[in-house]
């Protein structure tokens, strides 16, 4: 049986904790470098001029060594408050193109949305959880129940809001979402 003597330093199991959040937002997919005709070809219905919305679901996964005496990677209430301030409040009931500064220069595909969310988490994490051995590992966003996008936070680091090549790279395939 697993025992946890009070004065003994336990081996720390590495666990992942995933918390789910939801937000509803509108967006329009339109790349200013492309012609109106090409935008319609690339983005299909998602290019309709007044935009459209989704009920997004976002899983945030943390990874870190667990202090079994506390039993919590981080306080769930504190994590909720952090994710709300950093991401959910900025995205929920918003027009992503107009209300989220990153998307002034970036097409709000859900690829880019996941990158922006991961980047915001990584940037603000050390301030909110200084010295915590737990770190955000990945972000997974359901745009609809059928379209799911996952990004590892470590891979969101090179992401730059003004990066033209990243913007082109993030252009989705022809099929309509």
């Amino acid at each position: 049986m697993w025992t946890m003597p009070e004065n003994e330093e336990p081996g720390r199991p590495v666990v992942r904790v995933t918390r789910r959040y939801r937000f509803s937002a509108s967006h329009r997919l339109h790349a200013p470098e492309l012609s109106a005709e090409r935008n319609r070809e690339v983005y299909g219905k998602c290019n309709n001029p007044y935009g459209h919305g989704h009920d997004y679901v976002m899983d945030v996964t943390l990874r870190g060594p667990l202090d079994a005496r506390l039993g919590r990677l981080v306080s769930v209430d504190q994590l909720d408050q952090f994710v709300r301030c950093t991401i959910v409040d900025a995205f929920d009931r918003r027009n992503l193109n107009l209300d989220v500064p990153e998307f002034a220069t970036l097409v709000p595909t859900t690829e880019n949305l996941a990158l922006v969310a991961a980047h915001r988490l990584a940037a603000a994490w050390p301030l909110a959880f200084p010295g915590s051995p737990a770190l955000p590992e990945k972000v997974r966003i359901w745009e609809t129940p059928r379209n799911i996008f996952q990004v590892f936070v470590a891979n969101s680091e090179p992401f730059r809001v003004m990066d033209e090549s990243a913007r082109r790279h993030a252009a989705p395939t022809k099929e309509s979402r």
Partner: protein, 136 residues
């Protein structure tokens, strides 16, 4: 190849560490720290790795897996108060993180010497909060 088996069990718990102050407990465990406990419908996903046997076409007999999960998890934990009835949670705070690690420690020996390796487990406390552990 990976196969995943899902089971569920319902249990009550409270997350309170007597070594911490009341305010520290509230800060760390939030509403989970209420002293009289509360319950969850836990869902456990057990993922096994292996190669199908050329004759049976199976990695492992899932009847055996079902029985091991029943004996190690469901029978001792279902409709129980974890703090009062399921050691080591008389001494260890039964957070989802600790419960996940404990379930791994109970299950892992059952797969030693079998064709299936325990690759990872995922425990959902609610559909919005789950913990993964792979023996790291």
């Amino acid at each position: 190849m990976l196969i995943t088996r899902r089971i569920d069990f319902s249990a009550s718990h409270t997350c309170y560490n007597p070594a911490l102050s009341d305010s520290q407990n509230r800060a760390l465990y939030g509403s989970e720290a209420h002293p009289h406990g509360h319950g969850h419908n836990y869902v456990l996903e057990v993922t096994l790795a292996g190669s199908p046997d050329p004759v049976t076409g199976m990695i492992v007999d899932l009847k055996d897996v079902k029985q091991w999960l029943e004996e190690e998890v469901v029978e001792p934990m279902d409709h129980r108060h974890l703090n009062h009835e399921v050691p080591p949670f008389d001494r260890v705070v039964p957070t989802t993180e600790n419960l996940t690690v404990e379930i791994w420690r109970r299950l892992q020996p059952r797969f030693e010497g079998t064709p299936a390796r325990l690759a990872g487990i995922r425990l959902y406390e609610t559909e919005d909060l789950y913990v993964d552990y792979a023996g790291e």
